[in-house]
Symmetry: C2
DNA sequence: ATTCTGATTCGATACTCATCAAAATGATTT
DNA sequence: AAATCATTTTGATGAGTATCGAATCAGAAT
């Protein structure tokens, strides 16, 4: 009911996604202010200011210390800096993405489209992106140590599609496999 | 018309103030993606994704390089880091506030309320904050070198209000003036 | 105790915006 | 040239929200 759930990143940005709230934050960055002061400076009704401040407080950006019968709001610099660090860290930004490796959903969809119920390719997608998905899938057939002869490569690819030539060439072209001169040995990269 | 106006801070926060846009940013933090990919991963219609990406692009967070007939969007890390630095800098945050010294508007309003057209106080505000505004205003009457005798202080304050005693006492109480023992001389602090 | 005053809450209104479907655009393949 | 495909634009709709005024609440001053 009253769990102090950590304010989500979205909520944080929503709190700052308003011109007047940003102005308020800027003012509070100078020194604490009461609601009435902010109201006159921002030219907004006290009720509106109170509404804004409650949103800022909800994400921990401001704190109110009630002194006298003034509610004095002050900016929480630590909270600001914490979020700033998150934005600066590439890893944190990557974490904005939903779980599940980023391409899983797309790959799954593509594979579902082109693979029949027995796991074989009905036809090859001509779109580069989708073709790459197929190739990555095909690469899963080569999870042991290489290298492999061309005949071995063909044998494995055959379980996916009869058009082994296109698959084999795709792997080379997209830099997923290399072939030494003479074409005797194939290796993963 | 077509001026490349620098994307405002508000626009930047608005761009990130949406769950799906944040997810998109997270995905693009891993690697570039096409609209279709994002569409399937985010489970949104391509038109919606396009709309989101255009918002992100408007604030310089992403760039699109059209390859084939795919529009490949990639994250602009520099833009992100630049904004992160702004959030981390106290001075930048202060700059969110409108120009004009923060208290000007409040002071002006209070003075407008309590001063009549001839610049005299109709009555004294009893609220500390407003009273202080009046006192700061009154202090402007003493911009020459002190000290002043009590009679001189009274004479100057009289131009503001007949209740010179309250004003004089307020100046002392709020630490704006000091009085040597005996009350012969008043000085600014 | 009663009366002020500043702050918050509530209800209403107008505006913004996320989302989708359909149509338009632009580029690629046949 | 025609057809296809990814993307964008446009229009409509529904959800969200900024704002205000009125009512309520809580301290302070008289």
């Amino acid at each position: 009911m009253s769990m102090h759930e950590p304010p989500s990143i979205v909520a944080f940005f929503k709190a700052l996604a308003d011109a007047n709230r940003l102005r308020a934050v800027g003012l509070l960055a100078h020194r604490p202010h009461s609601v009435e002061e902010l109201s006159t400076i921002l030219d907004l009704r006290p009720s509106t200011v109170s509404h804004h401040l409650s949103k800022l407080a909800a994400v921990g950006l401001v704190h109110s210390s009630t002194s006298g019968h003034y509610h004095v709001y002050s900016l929480d610099l630590d909270a600001l800096h914490a979020q700033a660090r998150k934005l600066a860290s590439d890893e944190s930004v990557k974490a904005f993405a939903p779980e599940h490796g980023p391409s899983d959903a797309f790959d799954a969809k593509v594979l579902a489209t082109f693979l029949d119920e027995r796991g074989r390719l009905t036809k090859l997608p001509m779109k580069r992106k989708k073709f790459q998905v197929i190739l990555r899938h095909a690469l899963g057939l080569f999870d042991d140590e290489g290298p492999w002869s061309e005949r071995e490569v063909n044998r494995r690819l055959k379980t996916l599609s009869d058009d082994v030539a296109s698959l084999r060439r795709g792997m080379i072209d997209h830099g997923m496999m290399t072939r030494d001169q003479g074409g005797k040995h194939y290796r993963r990269v």
